[in-house]
């Protein structure tokens, strides 16, 4: 298992990356951490003619600007796991990254690369969805902001143009009276998620009842997805008691139609959606009330 030969261009800026993407067209792929791309090349699932290496394009660190955490696209998973600002302002992301790959994957893999790869079982993508994250991109038409909920199209496919590259990921920082949870089922730690669930719960101003809630699912369809808002509407105004959460989780599970594969049957995955959504919503609600206390 050795990749087909390809050429290699290292760029010193995102503008240069966009230029090179335009120059090589569909023959080119961006390489950041390479922890998903290079296995695909080694397995010959992809045969690009040239790799454009953006590792030298940006040296910035995570920063907080107002109520947004700005994560440069080249932020490595290990940084997400350990960085003070990420742990404090986006604890959901820092927690979920524990489930991403192994130590070597986390030392190289990047947040921008994870989003651009658009794996349907991605932990980071599901967190970005429930937190309402945005991707900042650079392309032939200049900069634009792409809400992550508009980013994923289908398996390994995003809404980005051919010559467009993610430069930053902007995530709203955790608010008072907000709780979160990440739940994942795998046979072995470091495997791809069979099913993963990310949840966010915001309480009302008295911190008694749910004001809004969001659930994202990984491993159930061709991309990471948000549960439909109407499925979670039943939580609003309640204290997320066991019965209410069970009803909501069952409705979310009914709304998905996962396929069967060598890892798990569709029925098992649907059951996981119900069980993990229940745990995630209960834990997120508990954290929200804890944070408000």
């Amino acid at each position: 298992m050795v990749s087909a030969p390809f050429d290699y261009v290292a760029v010193g800026s995102y503008d240069e990356a966009v230029h090179q993407l335009a120059r090589f067209g569909d023959d080119a792929k961006i390489i950041a951490g390479g922890q998903s791309l290079l296995p695909m090349l080694n397995l010959r699932l992809a045969k690009p003619a040239v790799l454009i290496d953006i590792n030298g394009a940006d040296q910035r660190e995570p920063s907080v600007e107002g109520d947004l955490l700005r994560l440069p696209a080249l932020t490595r998973h290990r940084t997400l796991l350990e960085h003070r600002l990420v742990r404090r302002h986006c604890p959901l992301v820092a927690d979920a990254v524990r489930y991403v790959g192994n130590v070597r994957v986390r030392n190289r893999g990047t947040i921008g690369g994870s989003l651009a790869h658009a794996d349907p079982a991605a932990e980071i993508g599901s967190c970005a969805l429930v937190l309402g994250a945005q991707a900042l991109t650079r392309g032939g038409g200049g900069q634009r902001v792409v809400p992550v909920r508009d980013l994923f199209v289908t398996y390994l496919t995003t809404a980005l143009d051919q010559s467009e590259v993610i430069t930053d990921v902007l995530i709203p920082v955790i608010r008072p009276r907000q709780g979160w949870s990440f739940q994942e089922m795998v046979r072995r730690t470091s495997d791809f998620a069979i099913v993963a669930v990310a949840a966010r719960v915001d309480l009302d101003e008295q911190a008694d009842f749910v004001a809004s809630a969001e659930v994202a699912l990984a491993g159930v369809t061709d991309r990471v997805v948000l549960a439909a808002p109407e499925l979670l509407a039943g939580l609003a105004g309640t204290a997320a008691c066991e019965e209410t959460v069970a009803g909501v989780a069952a409705a979310i599970a009914e709304s998905v139609d996962p396929s069967s594969d060598v890892q798990a049957s569709g029925d098992y995955r649907r059951r996981l959606v119900r069980v993990l959504s229940t745990r995630a919503l209960r834990e997120a609600f508990g954290r929200a009330t804890g944070a408000a206390a």
Partner: protein, 166 residues
């Protein structure tokens, strides 16, 4: 594709090598530089037998291009050797506790464990399991590897200490 002349810093020495732009760091270390301690296992970053330290951090040499290592410090198991060819203390722990049988996974295990102890000092058994989950061993059943890493962590100096550095 045009071959390129790369300057790689490996185990404290500079090497000029000719490599294709698509050559993996693993292929260049193993085939060009003759470092038999960096091993092909899966080619997907899953098994850990090609683990090297890149600027001190464990990475899969099969999931990096050789050209990407230019300007960085690469350390393989052989780079841990002490002056005069003496073993690193963690290798002595592996040997003493029978943590190595066929030995194919051992370089990756040792480098990953060394990084863990350097960062955590005295990791718990669960932390050791978590850190080594990406290093597969088909012989030992892992128990003796965990024992060896625990024993090394007990004798190594605290994080930042000299003896824990590669």
């Amino acid at each position: 594709m045009t071959m390129r002349n790369l300057l790689l810093a490996v185990n404290g020495r500079d090497h000029h090598v000719w490599a294709a732009p698509s050559a993996s760091l693993l292929d260049v270390l193993h085939d060009e530089l003759g470092l038999a301690d960096v091993r092909y296992g899966c080619g997907e970053g899953v098994c850990g037998t090609c683990t090297v330290l890149l600027d001190g951090d464990p990475v899969s040499a099969c999931l990096m291009l050789a050209v990407q290592a230019v300007g960085h410090q690469v350390v393989t198991l052989q780079g841990l050797m002490r002056p005069g060819g003496a073993m690193h203390p963690i290798q002595e722990c592996f040997l003493r506790l029978g943590a190595s049988q066929c030995g194919f996974c051992t370089p990756g295990m040792v480098l990953t464990a060394l990084d863990l102890v350097r960062r955590c000092g005295r990791p718990t058994r669960d932390e050791i399991r978590y850190a080594l989950v990406g290093n597969l061993c088909r012989c030992t059943g892992y128990t003796k590897i965990l024992d060896a890493v625990e024993e090394y962590a007990a004798v190594a100096e605290p994080p930042g200490g000299e003896s824990a550095a590669p």
